[in-house]
Structure formats: structure tokens, C-alpha cells
Amino acid sequence: MMFEPTKLPLPVDASTPVAALTALHNPKPLLSLRQVVKVYPTRSGDITALKGIDAEFYRGEFVGIVGKSGAGKSTLTHMISGVDQVTSGEVWFEDTPVHTLSEDQKALWRGRHVGVVYQTFQLMPSLSLLDNILLPMEFCGTYQRGKSEERALELLRAVELEDHAFKKPSAISGGQQQRAAIARALANDPPLIVADEPTGNLDTATAETIFSLFETLAERGTTILIVSHDRSLEDRVSRLLTITDGELSEMRSLR
């Protein structure tokens, strides 16, 4: 059965397409990067992965970031999601200076405001799909027995995995695991989803499903940032950034 993204539970603050549209035209960016530099010291000398990135992302945007392998795509997602620390520059999430937060503060901020999706799914192997989705709610203090489980099941139902709720990740296919990972990313209703090569391990049909899911989320006001080396992304996103050698060399709006 084909997955129907319209069944997704709606984000809290963008319950209608109108609201999402309003959000899109809100002049205040959800996320701003200011002169972000990331340098990795290595045995053979320092490698600058990001060379002073400036960018702004707004509510409801569906942004694609493309580039060749080693261009700095993943590093950029790490800076945006606070998974890694900038060497210099600033990352602002609305009024929160993410670049100044401690590891623990970043973890809590990320859990509440950013859903991260990886190519390798990164589900907890020892937990069921349901528990995987409940875990962010528990860690971020949004867990309430009964209500949270209801929401997690709703999310699993939305990604067509309700029947697999009590299975471990190893018992389902790669496409299903990625859908579970997206459901987990949505657990705390984050306004921003960052996906690093989310379809890299999936076949074309499954990849199509995942993209549809993201499109629906973006239409309902969630900001989606997808990183990929796949140029076919260009047709689906509202804005495309190209990263080359650590610089955002091209930036254009497609829609």
C-alpha cells in the first residue's frame, strides 16, 4: 500500500496551510548561520570544512543542500543541529545562540526543536519502534504515560508502521526503519527537521515515499533541510543550496 503523507499528525503551530503560508512569509528566520567556520585539526594539518557560511532558513521552507562528497554537507548539518561545535561564527535558532550552548543544553534544545534523520537511520537497536519514538519525549520531559504512547502510535500510524510498533528495528526493512526514524524525529513536534542523506540507503520507490513525507511536513509549516549529493532533489525542494569546498557557492529559489 502506498504511503499517504496527509495522515501525518500536524505540527502544533502550523495547523493549516494558511498558517504555514503565514509562517513562510514571516520575515524573522527560524535559523541563521553567520560566518560559520569549522576547522578539523588532523595529523597532516588543519582542514577547513566550512569557510564562513552565511545562511537563513524560514518556517515551512523545504531546503535542499547538495554537493559532492567531502564538500562539507554533513558538517553543515552538524553545525545546524548542534551535533558538533563551530570553530567560529554563530548559529542562531530564533533567539537562541546555539553556538554558545553547552553539550547538555544543546541536547535538550535539539530534542525539543530539531528532528535529525540520518542515512543510517540511527534507531536504538535494543528498543521497539514505539520505545524509539517515546525516548525523545522522555528525555525532553514531554513524556506523559498514556498521552505520549498515544502520540507515538499516531506517528507510527502516520508512517504506516503501527503494526510494527513492538518490533525491534532489525525486524523491519530499511525503508520502514527510515520512516520510523522520521516518526521519531517528529516525536516532540520540532519546527526544524534536518535530514542527512535520508534516502541514501533506500530504493527509488521508498525514497519517493520519504520525500513525499517531507513535502507534507513542509507544507504544514515544518522547516525541512535535506542534505544530499543527489541532484534529483532540485525538483522537489523550495530552495536549493549548493556547497562546494566548504562554501555555499550557489543559492537559488526554485519555487
Binding site: T42, V83, L108, R110, R112, L127, L135, E138
Partner: protein, 802 residues
């Protein structure tokens, strides 16, 4: 998900899943905690049970506070002592030596103890076990050990051969347990109890030789006992009795308590060591677990987990390991504590109050079972929880910080070029995780060192016994109740086949006098011929006795403790028989360290002092066959020969009897130590098995790559086996080196406990060889399972391994 699991929060379900999801790992961690907790439970439990039950049984037996050996006395002296100030009651004891015919038809010595007091009121009560409580006239109560040894009981009739070779038949009225014998009772335990009315029926004159006294007040106070002992000494002196030996014991302390405490103390140290080893093992396993869980920690942080939340989860996991280990170790430890106590009770001869749980031991176990894993795991957990999301998820594959300079070990390994490639891989793999290697080596090395040391300690203690036998080298000790002419005895002994030599010895008791000529102590004087080959003394100062010595003594080191400042050349005033004279100390010899005063003078001089003229009461005989059997055979022949001619024999004993008993006792002690060594070795082997499994598990992907480029199964198997063997052999070398100081300390502590003297450390190859074999077997065994698993996985499985 099971219904009950739904009540748990998702994070606790993760803890549960980690606990039961990887059963082998859980088993490994739980086993490593449980070994330590078990050992501590066993030792702590017996530490509480043994002294408490032993002292309780001793106190309940109305034990003598003062025991005095003196010349034969009758009831008049007992009454006089009873009237002495501070004395509550007094009794005389007489031991009649007879021989009894065992159910197998052998004749063995039997000591029959007679007293004046009724059994139920007497000093040094015996605990009735079966049959009559009190022996009737011409009946006996057999002591528990003798009854058990020869399967005798109430109603059986014993055939006894008396001193004059006449035969008496005596009915066993009951059996009873002696609750008050000290270490002496362990070696001389063929005995029974008779009423004083039976003494004359056994063709013995009615007298007593040992005075037993209970004090009226302060029976637990050594000073109060000493004061009463002084009063009793005065009473004896007034009636002209010399004191040969005096012993003072408080009521609440069993004479064996200090020895036993020292031995349990040693076991306790070993238990603590095992806990320490199991702690390092837990730390090793938990570090590996946390490394394995890094991606999961990364994911948890990715979805919002803060460091403290992750720390809490893993500490809960560690506590669960601890709780599981307690479930195993507490019942096993309690059982083992009781088994150990029961063993000790059998050895020392006291009844246990029955199986019981010792709350203190369990509290210690709970504290150790929970606290040690937490302590061992806190660092790996805190470090693991502090990892960044990026490095946790990428497994460090992203560009990393530039590492510090290569360690010396790595530089050394880099220079190993002459080895074959696969061997080189094994060597490098061994040293790859240095922290883990160090902890594994620590457990195996200490386990091995203790294992080897136990064998060395046994040899050292046996050396100590040999040291004792240097003073008692005779094959047969022939002692009469009065002196006989040397030429007569020598001729008769020489008439027996296999006799090589006969020596007359002068043996007597003397009193040590102070400046006012008051008796302050008593000593045993031994007078072998000046150049006797039967004594090989260990002289620590001065010299041994010489033929031209007059009033010269070589004394044991107990004098140094009792007369501080005593040195060679000083004089001691002695009363030997009725003669008071000054004796010069010409040398000090090392004996076992016992507190009794012993001094040697040569036969000629001492015999003159004791008024023996060309006669002696003690003869030391040597033969060609030095085995206990040979000695016993010769003793029987000599005994028969002299008895047939009407000699008044006190005893004819095989020389090796006592040393054999002591050796047996030490064998029991070392058996305890071997159990502890095996426990430490098992901690080491669990550690090694864990380390190798973890090493192989972490390298699964690498093994896949090796196989993809052509490494065949046997080669993979060999890689892991060589790694295991390398760890085993390194630990062996370190353990062998460490065993030297450990042997020294252990041997000293035990020797001090038993002999009150430091040991002369000795070493045996036995322990080294056995441990090498064990280590090789362990290494191969511990490597085999992970190696086989690694070699069996297909390349696809291995490369897909996460």
C-alpha cells in the same frame, strides 16, 4: 513487550533490554562481580561464626583459668588451692596412659583422664554426646574424635593394655566432646574420661599431676587471673611444690582464637584482593560495554538526552548487574561460610550453633556487590556519557583531533619487522587497547602470583617443620618414668634389628628465680650428649653447648621476650631439683617461636645436676628406616622388649608422629589458601575470556576485511589464539616475579600465627609449572570460543556487523 514491561518508562526498558539482550555479556559481568562477593561472603561469614561459636562453646565449658603442671599431688593440695584467695574452684587431673585395641586389632595409645569433681560441675566440662553423661566405676566416656575415628560408641567394650602389660576390659558408657583443648588437642586426640575411682583399677597409684583452677572474680580479665595465679603459686610453694608449667586463659577467649583469627585475617586479605581484582575486571567489561554502546549514547543525545540522564541509565544497568550477582553470591557465600566454619569446628573440636545467616556478612556483600561495580564503572560511564554526538554516531570516523605522540610501546611494536605479518597483527592487537590489557594483566598476574605463592608458602611452612625436626631427629623416643643405667638400656636397644644409635638424654624441669630467689617462671632443660648428631641447632647468637661447659646454657628465643635485654654472657639463676645456681647463657637458638622456655645443656653436666649417675630416663634412638611406618615398627619392638623385662616405660614414640600431625594441619591450611588461589585464578580467567571476546567482537569488521583479502579460517583462529597466549604468557612472567614478595608476606603472616615466628621463605618449581600450564590452558580456552566464532562468520555477515 511483556505486560509488566509496559509499566516501565522507555529508558528503563532500554536498561532491561541491555540486561537480557546480551546474556553472555551479562553473565560475564555478573560472574566477575559474584566471584568477589562470594569470596567476601564466605570469609566474612566464617569470620563471625567461628570465633563466636568457638568462644561461646569454650566459655560454656567452665574452662580452667589457670593450669599448673607440678609433681604428683593428692586431694589435700586441691583443697588447699581451693582455700586460696581469689580461687572459685580447683581440681586435679591425672592422665593414665594405656593402649587400646582398635576394632582392626591394632594397639594404639589412649589417654584416660581422671578428675575428682563430678562431670556436671567440673572445670573444663565435656559436652555429652551419647550414652551416659558420667562414667561409672571402671567405665569410660570416649572423646568424640576417638569414637568417630574408630567407629566406637556406648555399649562397646574396649580391651586395654596397661603399663604393666596386664589387660583390662572397660565399657564405653558414653561419648562426649572436649570443648577446651587448645592446639595440643589437635595432635593428641585419642582420649577418654574416667572417674577417679578407676585409677587404681588401672594399676596406677592415686595421684594427680595437673592442677586446674577457676578464679572467683574477673575470669575474663588477664590481670585478675594473674593475681590469683600468684596466690596459687604461693600456696604451692608453701607445700614445697615446684611449678613445671603454668598456663593462664580468660574464660571468654578460646586458646586457639588468636591463631584462627590470624588465619582468617589472611583469608580476608585475599578476599579483599579478589574484590579488587573483580573490580578491575568489571571496569574492563564496562569500558568495553560503553565503547560498544557509544553509537546508542550518540543517538540518545541526538534525541535530547543529557549527560546525567545517560549516566543514570548506565549506573542503573551496573546496579542491576550488582543485584543479579548478589542473588547468586549471597546464598552461595552463606553456605560456603558455614561449610568453612564447620570444617574449622571439626579441626579445632567445637560444636557450631547450627546454620545461620550472618547479617553483617550479608551487609558487607551487599555493599561490595553494589559499591564495587559502581566504583569500577563510574569512570567508563562518565567518560562514555561525555562523548559528543558526532564522534559517537560516526564512531570517530570523521576527521579527528590530531593524536598525541606515539607511545613507547607503539614505537617498539613499530620496529618489529622480522615477525611474520599475521604474527605481527596478533602482537599489535594485543597492545591495541592498552588500558584493557593492563587491567586484564593485573587480574591474571595477581591471580597467578597468589596461586604460585600458595605452593611456596606450603614449602616454607614445611621448612619450618623441618626446622623443628632439627631438634628432634631421633627415629624413636624412649622415655621411662625413672632413670635406668645407660649400659643396660643401650645393650637392650642395640639388640633390636636396624638400630643405628642410642643416645641417653637428661631432661628436667627447672624454675627461673629472681634476685630474691623467688620463682618467676619455669623452663625445660634438655641435655643431649655434647656432640649429638640428633640436634642441628639454628644459632642466632653465641654458640651451641660444648663438652667442657659447666652451668652453661643455650636458650631459645622465648627468653629474649621474657627477659628483655638478655644477651650472651649473662647469667640466669635457676633452681634445678633442690639446687639453686647461676647458669651462663652461651648461645641463643631459634626454635619455633613458642613462648615456653627451653634451654640446652650437655648430658654429662645436666645428669650430674639431676643426680643421675651413668643413667638416664630418656633415650633417643636412630634407625635406617626413617619412615613413620619404620619408626612405628621399631618403637613397637622396643616397647615389647622393655616391657617384657619389667621396665617402667612412660612412652615409646615414633619420631615422625608429631611432625606428621603438624604437616597434616599445615596441609589443611594450605588447602584453604589453594581455594582462595583458585578463586583469584577464576577471576583472572573470567577476565581473560572477557577481554578476548571483547577484542574479537570489536574487531569483527576488521576480521571480515582480512577474510575478504584472503585470510583463511585457520589463520583467523591463529591470530586470536596467539593474542590470547601472548596475554597469558606476559601475565605468567609478571605473576612469577610478583609471587616472590607475596610468598614472603603470606608465609610470614601464617608462620607468625602458627609458630609465633617468621618463616624462612622457600620456593618450589611446582607452583610455577602448574600455573604456566593453567595459564596456557586458560589462554587457549578463553581464545577458542571467540576465535571459532570469528572464523565461522561469513564475510557478508562480518562486514554488515554493527
Amino acid at each position: 513487550m511483556k505486560p509488566w514491561q509496559s509499566y516501565l518508562r522507555p529508558s528503563w526498558r532500554k536498561v532491561l533490554s541491555d540486561l537480557i539482550g546480551n546474556r553472555t555479556r551479562t553473565l560475564l559481568v555478573v560472574a566477575s562481580i559474584a566471584v568477589g562477593v562470594f569470596a567476601v561472603g564466605m570469609i566474612a561469614g566464617s569470620y563471625y561464626i567461628i570465633p563466636s561459636d568457638m568462644n561461646d562453646s569454650y566459655s560454656s565449658a567452665n574452662p580452667a583459668n589457670i593450669q599448673i603442671q607440678t609433681r604428683p599431688f593428692d586431694e589435700n593440695l586441691i583443697r588447699a588451692v581451693e582455700r586460696t584467695r581469689g580461687v572459685s574452684s580447683a581440681d586435679g587431673e591425672r592422665t593414665v596412659s594405656v593402649r587400646m585395641k582398635t576394632p582392626d586389632g591394632d594397639w594404639v595409645s589412649l589417654s584416660l583422664i581422671a578428675r575428682t569433681q563430678p562431670f556436671a560441675e567440673r572445670i573444663d566440662l565435656v559436652k555429652p554426646l551419647s550414652g551416659a553423661v558420667e562414667p561409672g566405676k571402671n567405665e569410660l566416656i570416649l572423646e568424640k574424635r576417638t569414637a568417630e575415628k574408630y567407629s566406637l560408641g556406648p555399649g562397646d567394650v574396649l580391651e586395654l593394655k596397661l603399663e604393666d602389660d596386664s589387660i583390662r576390659r572397660m565399657k564405653i558408657a558414653g561419648t562426649a566432646q572436649d570443648l577446651t583443648s587448645g592446639i595440643g588437642g589437635m595432635f593428641n586426640n585419642t582420649k577418654g574420661y574416667i572417674s577417679d575411682e578407676s585409677i587404681e583399677w588401672l594399676h596406677e597409684p592415686y595421684y594427680f599431676s595437673r592442677l586446674l583452677v577457676r578464679v572467683a572474680e574477673g575470669d575474663n580479665d588477664p590481670a585478675a587471673i594473674q593475681a590469683v595465679a600468684d596466690n596459687v603459686k604461693d600456696t604451692l610453694a608453701k607445700d614445697g611444690y615446684e611449678i613445671y608449667q603454668i598456663q593462664k586463659n580468660p574464660t571468654n577467649v578460646h586458646p586457639m582464637e588468636s591463631i584462627l583469627q590470624a588465619i582468617i585475617q589472611v583469608l580476608l586479605y585475599l578476599g579483599v584482593l579478589i574484590v579488587f581484582l573483580s573490580g578491575s575486571l568489571i571496569s574492563n567489561t564496562l569500558t568495553a560495554l560503553l565503547n560498544q554502546h557509544l553509537p546508542q549514547i550518540g543517538v540518545m543525545k541526538l534525541v535530547g538526552a543529557q549527560r546525567r540522564q545517560i549516566i543514570r541509565l548506565y549506573l542503573a544497568l551496573i546496579l542491576s548487574f550488582g543485584l543479579l550477582s548478589l542473588v547468586i553470591a549471597i546464598p552461595l557465600g552463606s553456605w560456603a561460610a558455614y561449610a568453612l566454619s564447620d570444617f574449622a569446628a571439626g579441626l579445632i573440636n567445637f560444636p557450631l550453633r547450627g546454620f545461620r545467616i550472618v547479617p553483617q556478612a550479608i551487609l558487607i556483600q551487599i555493599a561490595i556487590g553494589l559499591f564495587v561495580p559502581l566504583l569500577a564503572g563510574i569512570w567508563p560511564v562518565v567518560r562514555g556519557a561525555g562523548v559528543t554526538v558526532d564522534s559517537a554516531i560516526s564512531g570517530g570516523s570523521h576527521m579527528q583531533e590530531a593524536p598525541a605522540q606515539k607511545s613507547l610501546v607503539d614505537q617498539g611494536l613499530g620496529r618489529l619487522r622480522s615477525l611474520s605479518r599475521p604474527l605481527l597483527i596478533s602482537v599489535r592487537n594485543t597492545f591495541r587497547r592498552k588500558g584493557r590489557l593492563v587491567l586484564t594483566l593485573l587480574t591474571l598476574t595477581l591471580g597467578g602470583a597468589i596461586f604460585i605463592s600458595v605452593f611456596n608458602v606450603q614449602v616454607s611452612l614445611n621448612h619450618k617443620i623441618e626446622q623443628i625436626t632439627k631438634y628432634f631427629s631421633a627415629d624413636v623416643n624412649l622415655d621411662f618414668n625413672r632413670p635406668y643405667p645407660i649400659h643396660q638400656v643401650t645393650a637392650l636397644v642395640r639388640g633390636v634389628d636396624e638400630v643405628v644409635s642410642v643416645e641417653p638424654w637428661a631432661i628436667g624441669q627447672a624454675n627461673v628465680l629472681n634476685e630474691k630467689d623467688e620463682v618467676v617462671d619455669s623452663l625445660t632443660l634438655l641435655g643431649p650428649p655434647a656432640n649429638s648428631p640428633l640436634v642441628t641447632p639454628i644459632i642466632t647468637e653465641g654458640r651451641w653447648i660444648q663438652a667442657d661447659d659447666k652451668n652453661a646454657l643455650t636458650v631459645n628465643e622465648a627468653f629474649m621476650r621474657k627477659v628483655p635485654g638478655l644477651k650472651v654472657g649473662d647469667t640466669i639463676r635457676l633452681k634445678v631439683g633442690t639446687r639453686k645456681a647461676d647458669w651462663t647463657v652461651v648461645g641463643i637458638f631459634q626454635f619455633t617461636g613458642i613462648n615456653d622456655l627451653i634451654a640446652y645443656s650437655h648430658y654429662d653436666h645436666l645428669a650430674r645436676t639431676l643426680n643421675y649417675t651413668a643413667s638416664a630416663a630418656a633415650y633417643r634412638i636412630t634407625t635406617l628406616d626413617h619412615s613413620l611406618e619404620g619408626q612405628t615398627r621399631l618403637a613397637q619392638q622396643i616397647d615389647a622388649r622393655f616391657r617384657a623385662r619389667g621396665y617402667d616405660i612412660n612412652s615409646v614414640e615414633a619420631g615422625a608422629t608429631i611432625t606428621n600431625s603438624v604437616t597434616e594441619y599445615i596441609g589443611v591450611l594450605t588447602a584453604f589458601l589453594v581455594v582462595m588461589a583458585l578463586l583469584t585464578a577464576s577471576v583472572g580467567s573470567i577476565g581473560m575470556a572477557g577481554t578476548l571476546s571483547m577484542n574479537v567482537m570489536e574487531r569483527t569488521r576488521e576480521i571480515g576485511v582480512l577474510r575478504a583479502i584472503g585470510a583463511y579460517d585457520t589463520m583467523i583462529l591463529r591470530l586470536v589464539l596467539v593474542e590470547g597466549l601472548l596475554i597469558g604468557l606476559i601475565s605468567f612472567v609478571l605473576g612469577a616475579l610478583l609471587s616472590f614478595p607475596i610468598t614472603h608476606v603470606l608465609a610470614d603472616v601464617i608462620s607468625m600465627a602458627i609458630f609465633s615466628a617468621p618463616a624462612q621463605t622457600a620456593f618450589t618449581l611446582q607452583g610455577f609449572v602448574i600455573w604456566l600450564g593453567v595459564v596456557i590452558l586458560l589462554s587457549v580456552g578463553a581464545s577458542l570460543i571467540p576465535a571459532r566464532n570469528a572464523s565461522r562468520m561469513t564475510i557478508r555477515e562480518v562486514l554488515a556487523y554493527e
